[in-house]
Symmetry: C2
């Protein structure tokens, strides 16, 4: 699989991006990574590093899209930015996927305008696989924030695409799909989710009904369907609670004197494990479902491990034939509903 990596635009770029690529090709011998960005900077960074150079190449791009850039303007005007060049090369040449930790909005616009959407898909969704803490198999959230105003039809397509993802990439036979809602009963919901519920019932995917956001990390469902506004709120709320809990625990340990400090030292490995599974580095970014090729967003603060995971995931998606599987699922649903 051939993956293009945007080496500029994120917080720890280009160092962590390049290090992540080296880790990825060391771990997966079938992987080729093309580092996109300023050729000289990248080449200089690679000096003295050991890697299989038959599977690492550089694609020059002299400009950078930053987080301060307006997405649509940036994609239209910054023709030489690493993100724009990378996406164009992905669209036009024989590459399987693109990974970037840069401007999320620009990447969404680029995925839609340059890579283009699959026929019939109205909007691409940003879909991270959340760690399900109890069973560890993961749940994909479609959408986590790319589309803040959605139609029921969009939610139905999110469901079809998410189900195709969990089936093809994660090998789950008949993925359980839940609709994020303010209650589990069928009659619950706002005007959007009520309509989407009825539409999801008509599909041939394994729609199991509404789920509440308190069940997001339990693994009860494999796919969570949400409009991007609700998905974003749910995700960040859980993140915020996680942070607050660790902060408060730290405070109580400090206040608890010697006994608490000793307890903390003994419990440190367990607490570290807990922090590890909650870390966004473990997720490896979200994929823009609905684009014609694989486009993965790594989070802005990605370190080398996060980049490595994002690249490996992109490779797995390509290997699984994700795009074709999504096309088939969407076409089948359209046929069934003629």
């Amino acid at each position: 699989m051939k993956i293009i990596l945007d080496c500029f635009g994120g917080d720890n770029c280009p160092g962590s991006a390049i290090d992540g690529a080296l880790l990825a090709i060391a771990e997966d011998k079938t992987l080729n990574v093309t580092l996109c960005g300023d050729e000289k900077t990248i080449a200089d960074y690679l000096i003295g590093k050991t890697y299989d150079n038959s599977r690492l190449s550089i694609l020059n791009a002299s400009d950078i899209i930053t987080n301060d850039d307006t997405p649509t303007l940036a994609i239209r005007r910054k023709k030489d930015a690493s993100m724009t060049v990378g996406l164009k090369t992905l669209a036009q040449e024989d590459y399987d996927g693109f990974v970037s930790s840069g401007n999320t909005g620009a990447l969404l616009v680029g995925a839609s305008l340059i890579v283009k959407r699959i026929d019939g898909v109205q909007r691409c969704s940003l879909s991270p696989v959340l760690p399900t803490m109890i069973d560890g198999k993961g749940t994909i959230l479609v959408d986590s924030g790319a589309n803040v105003d959605c139609s029921p039809e969009m939610l139905r397509d999110f469901a079809l695409m998410g189900s195709a993802y969990m089936k093809s990439v994660c090998g789950i036979e008949n993925p359980k799909v839940g609709l994020l809602n303010n209650g589990t009963e069928e009659e619950k919901g706002n005007s959007l989710t009520k309509l989407a519920y009825q539409m999801l019932k008509e599909t041939d995917i394994n729609f199991v009904g509404n789920i509440e956001s308190r069940e997001m990390f339990t693994g009860d469902v494999d796919v969570i369907v949400a409009d991007g506004f609700a998905g974003n709120i749910a995700l960040k709320s859980a993140e915020g609670m996680g942070k607050v809990i660790f902060k408060m625990l730290k405070k109580y340990i400090t206040e608890g004197g010697l006994r608490a400090k000793l307890g903390y030292l003994l419990l440190k490995p367990s607490l570290k494990k807990l922090k590890g599974i909650m870390s966004s580095d473990a997720v490896g970014g979200g994929v823009f479902l609905g684009a014609n090729k694989i486009v993965v967003k790594a989070h802005g603060a990605s370190n080398a491990v996060a980049f490595k995971n994002a690249i490996l995931r992109a490779g797995e998606m390509a290997q699984a034939g994700l795009i074709e599987k999504i096309k088939t699922a969407l076409a089948k649903n359209a046929e069934d509903n003629v």
Copy 2:
């Protein structure tokens, strides 16, 4: 202050409700509580208990609204239910507030139809005060789920009412009001929050802009304004994450052998403290802002302490003249915008 307590309809009723009332009148000597529900059952339960009977009375009601009842039908048809009788008595007689752990939807309908809304208020909002863990002063969330489809005007009224609450009940001079959104920048949001943002800018409350759900428990703002769908998703997501963290920690401690178990024992007081501040018992329920009198929802699984807190909070709201303060704030805003 004279508070009516619905003793039936919640999970631990009537025992926990009555015990909570006894704790409340013991703690606040200015409080009168009227226990509403089946007279004989309540009287029997009180046998042998010690309390100031000049401040405790019984209001007979022979029927119960359960969680299986349809809200509007239940309020209309179950004329003798403890919730209906209690709300009617609150509306017609010299009482200051009503507390119930029963059917949330029915309580919302009852607050709107029986107690009625303040002039000009389109919808009542269910508004719990969230524990802000770092500073402990609390943040009110308006709305946490009563109204799943909102207009920008409704969000503006939620903001005005929430601000009046934090000022009058919690004594915060100039409460900071934030709009729950998918990003902090002014241009962020869905079609609803974008319009609400502009409307909030026009009010004379201390609107500090958008906040993300990851900041819900930091105490950065005193009032969080949200449509009930988003507010509900945010709240339950945080709750779910809290539960998952403790569940995983337990798992890691079990796996961690003797060392981890010893660490856990030493750290137990700190962990217990952490669980305590996260507990919904500490919150003491949410108030239906917008009703003509104080109507407080205690959570369905309330124990005696949760009931006590809900009753004390209702008394404090009445003492603070909350309803008048809300009326003044709404009228002032209407005047300013003529």
